[in-house]
């Protein structure tokens, strides 16, 4: 939603700068302690995998902090769409802060998991998409 258009406007040019697309990928195991690049769906990013304690539940979790990859022809990997240990149906939580990595967290009830699996790619796609719209 935008502010009101000038009454005499007859035509606008709308620009969408960028979008985020969920793309399928292979499953990729990342070991606890991993701190480096990884490649998912053919695109690279950086991940740090650590054990942690969930602030709310006090339970064991494994956190995957992801820094987006470099642009490759108007595409870059933001972060995996899914993180799990054994059961891909279980959800994960996510936290993010401006300027910081996206942290994906999944429960590790036994506290003994040695790796997590990441799957699917949230890919940032750069435009722009331009639409010429008559508004008269």
């Amino acid at each position: 939603m935008f502010r009101g258009l000038a009454p005499d406007a007859r035509h606008i040019t709308l620009e969408v700068q960028d979008v985020t697309v969920d793309e399928p990928s292979e499953d990729l195991a990342l070991a606890v302690g991993h701190d480096g690049p990884f490649t998912l769906g053919g695109r690279a990013a950086h991940a740090t995998v650590t054990r942690a304690v969930d602030r709310r539940s006090g339970g064991n979790v494994i956190e995957v902090a992801v820094t987006p990859g470099e642009w490759q022809t108007d595409h870059r990997l933001l972060y995996p769409g899914h993180v799990f240990i054994d059961d891909r149906r279980l959800g994960h939580s996510m936290s993010m802060a401006v300027g910081g990595p996206v942290t994906l967290s999944c429960a590790d009830p036994t506290g003994a998991a040695t790796a997590v699996t990441v799957a699917s790619s949230l890919v940032h796609v750069r435009g722009p998409w331009e639409l010429e719209i008559p508004v008269a």
Binding site: M1, F2, R3, G4, L5, A6, D8, A9, R10, H11, I12, T13, L14, E15, V16, Q17, D18, V19, T20, V21, D22, E23, P24, D54, R55, R56, S57, G59, V61, P68, D74, H75, L78, L90, S93, M94, M96, A97, V98, G99, G100, V102, A107, P109, L122, H124, V125, G127, P128, W129, E130, L131, E132, I133, V135
Partner: protein, 232 residues
Amino acid sequence: MGSASCALPLDGDAVFVPGVGFRPAEVAIARVPVTREHAGRTITVERAAAGPDGTEVVLSDTGLCEWDNTQMAPWANDPVRLRDGSGHVFGQRGWRGGTGRRGSKDDPRIQTIQRELTLEPLPAGTRTADLLVGDAVLPLEFESSAVAGVRAVALDVTTSRHGVAVRAVRIARSAEDTAIELALSAPDDERRVVRAIGASPFGGPHGHQPPVTFHDDAGTTYQERQVFRDPG
């Protein structure tokens, strides 16, 4: 076809209702928010739109509950129904946005359940109804969307890039606001799903500029000031 915003199949007149989105003109909109305290919880109806195909409801439900990563708060599945003035009860018909939750920064025991659901349609012309959330009763008053909204005009303008199609579907103009409905899709690869305009489905943190702007024929630039994500 992957899609971030399935354009609503609106036949006939449509309106844009601030806080709700584009809807058929015959849809009635509840005056919101409506909040009630119940059994230690705070329940708020954030949106309700009654149409011939059902009544969309968005509500938040906040209370104390030990956080458990593997399950929602116990009240997350309380049945939600509508009761009209004749006492007839209308049940839940389906899920639109599903159920989400968020924790409080101040107290980890406080959690808010956000529910988006669709109930069976109310009789045409219904102006008052009670929303029943478990045992809680939240009275709703509906008004015509023609009163609450701005008439929309259909568009059909599409452009594609990198396999992602962006379509302008509708526009609604008032002196104060311009609302444009966009539908995004990946028409050539059904495995790809367009999650969001911008750099993240959740709004950050990688955004660098307003993801949508437009300029008019006088060269004036307009930046978006509010975004509605409507799963349709």
